[in-house]
């Protein structure tokens, strides 16, 4: 299938990637080229095929409910790589409370 740059801009928004008008046109071409190869998947006979998400076959891998302080950071370590901190908090410019979930 082919992808147009309006779709690319919508995807960019979902993916939180800033994209210029020019880039969106190039990306649309790239995606179309890639999807042409990917579309070979359509030839596969999968009507009765189960989905594989993980190949190990492992199930029920759990942690016990134990606090392991040695695996936790100190506050300084937690904040060590942050660009902006204030009194032990990470700081971002003011966000409107419009989250979706």
């Amino acid at each position: 299938m082919s992808v147009n740059n309006t779709q690319v801009k919508h995807i960019a928004q979902l993916a939180n990637i800033p994209v210029t008008e020019e880039e969106s046109i190039d990306l649309a071409d790239d995606f179309t080229e890639t999807l042409k190869i990917v579309d070979q998947l359509k030839k596969a006979e999968v009507k009765k095929t189960e989905i594989t998400h993980q190949v190990t076959g492992f199930k029920n891998v759990f942690r016990e409910d134990i606090v392991k302080e040695e695996q936790s950071f100190t506050q300084e370590e937690a904040l060590a790589n942050a660009k902006a901190t204030y009194k032990g908090y990470f700081v971002v410019p003011y966000i409107l409370q419009n989250k979706d979930n």
């Binding site: 994209v19 990306l27 995606f31 890639t34 596969a44 594989t52 993980q54 891998v61 942690r63 790589n81």
Partner: protein, 460 residues
């Protein structure tokens, strides 16, 4: 001979016999890196305290020997970037399980190696810190994404190296650089602290000068890890115990893909596989599923997982914001996002995961008849510098012979089997076995390697 040219095994033995010292090894190594790293761009950073750390580790299994580590392994206190500007200057406050175990076994992180940014590629040309050149022939690429680690072996910039593979990223650069690359079974090695690319296929593993070295190094870091829910809870075997075994009676299937681009390489490999027959194994041509669909599966699954795995890079807690992503990362994130959106998830993501099942079934059938399967690692020799920009699917096409075994989690080893005298470039053979059967691949790859001319070429 310079001491940095020794294998891991040779170095350990020579140190134990006190024929050489760590100081001497590090001296030769430092000299080699000082002379050539600027040009080859293998190391993004070199550990200035390596020798000090080495001396403290001299009694441990790896004797304080210098190991090159791909820059997508988080190393506490050492800048870790996955070759992306997004993580410029990021200093992890934690250690990946692999490097933690490497250190505990007496391995010294000599430096962090260059890679395709975020491991997105098969050229090490998409690094935000410049491309790495193939030490065998600097007009050519080292392959990737673990190109820096493979090049470190080819250039004798370390006794052994650690890379990671999602679909080809250990074996393909090993093939292009002339090195042994060992991708263990998915889940054999912990992914904790390895900057995630595609979580359902990412597999850390060794790149080394010999199969034996790869096994010694893998012993240091394979095995269960409670911090990785997808790691195998069973204790890993001693991988060196499968070396120097007879392969008499073993059944080896040669996956013969009738694809134009690999015809010549196939012919060369078939000729070289006569070795296995001489060693008593049976060698037969087999037909496997079309590799082109594996490209599709890998492309979709990998990009979908990438789009989610790279969502954490928002510049708040570490690193720069999302405008810092390079073109390749942007392409993958966005295409992956697309394949998961409403209306397209069934057509792409879910379909790809179903075709993945077909490949699992295909291998299941093949492994009923054969112990080990072999094919060329890469369609041909290392491509020239600049080649990766030819197509947005460059990597996927170069790795077309590896994707099927990667999306199914199989263990595989690349062993160099052919050297072109004019170009000094190599071709590699890829041996694969069922999941968790590293024993089988090691037996065959080791026997094969020891009977090729590899050890006479190695230092060229």
């Amino acid at each position: 001979m310079k001491l940095n040219e020794l294998t891991l095994k040779e170095s350990i033995d020579a140190l134990d016999k006190k024929e050489i010292t760590l100081e001497e090894i590090y001296k030769d190594l430092d000299q080699a890196c000082q002379a050539k790293n600027e040009k080859l761009n293998i190391y993004l950073s070199i550990n200035s305290k390596a020798l000090i750390e080495a001396k403290k580790a001299s009694k441990k299994p790896l004797r304080g020997l210098p190991i090159a580590v791909k820059d997508n392994f988080c190393t506490k206190g050492i800048v870790t970037t996955a070759s992306s500007k997004v993580l410029d200057g990021f200093i992890p406050q934690y250690e990946s399980t692999v490097t933690e175990r490497l250190k505990a076994s007496g391995g010294v992180i000599y430096g962090k190696t260059n890679m395709d940014a975020w491991a997105h590629g098969s050229s090490t040309e998409t690094s935000d810190y410049g491309r790495t050149l193939n030490p065998r022939n600097s007009d050519h690429l080292p392959g990737g994404s673990s190109g820096g680690s493979a090049a470190a072996i080819a250039a004798d910039f370390a006794v052994a190296a650690i890379g990671s593979e999602t679909a080809g990223s250990i074996r393909q650069p090993a093939a292009w650089c002339g090195a042994v690359g060992f991708k263990p079974t998915y889940g054999r090695v912990s992914r904790f602290g390895v900057i995630a690319m595609a979580s359902s296929t990412d597999s850390p593993g060794p790149i080394a000068k010999t199969v034996e070295d790869a096994c010694i190094l893998l012993n240091a870091f394979a095995g269960p890890d409670e911090k990785d829910g997808t790691s195998n809870k069973e204790k890993a075997p001693d991988f060196t115990s499968f070396l120097d075994q007879s392969i008499k009676g073993m059944k080896i299937g040669v996956i013969y893909q009738d694809v134009k681009e690999i015809k010549e390489t196939n012919q060369k490999l078939l000729k070289e596989l006569e070795i296995l027959k001489e060693l008593g194994a049976t060698v037969e041509l087999v037909q496997a599923m079309d590799p082109h669909q594996a490209i599709g599966v890998y492309t979709v699954v990998q990009r979908a997982e990438v789009s989610s795995n790279l969502a954490r890079y928002d510049g708040i807690r570490y690193g720069g914001d999302r405008s810092n992503f390079g073109d390749e990362a942007k392409r993958r994130i966005m295409l992956g996002t697309f394949t998961l959106t409403k209306g397209y998830a069934d057509r792409y993501y879910n379909l790809a995961q179903k075709v993945r099942t077909l490949y699992l079934n295909d291998y299941k059938e093949l492994f009923k008849k054969y112990d080990v399967l072999v094919s060329p690692t890469s369609p041909s020799f290392a491509k020239e510098v600049g080649a990766s920009f030819s197509s947005p699917m460059f990597g996927e096409l170069e790795d077309m012979l590896l994707e099927a075994s990667s999306i199914t989690g199989l263990p595989g080893i690349n062993v160099p089997f052919y050297r072109d005298e004019k170009t000094n470039l190599y071709l590699g053979a890829n041996f694969i076995a069922p999941m968790w059967r590293e024993d089988l691949v090691i037996k065959v790859a080791d026997a094969f390697e020891k009977n090729t001319k590899w050890n006479s070429w190695r230092n060229k």
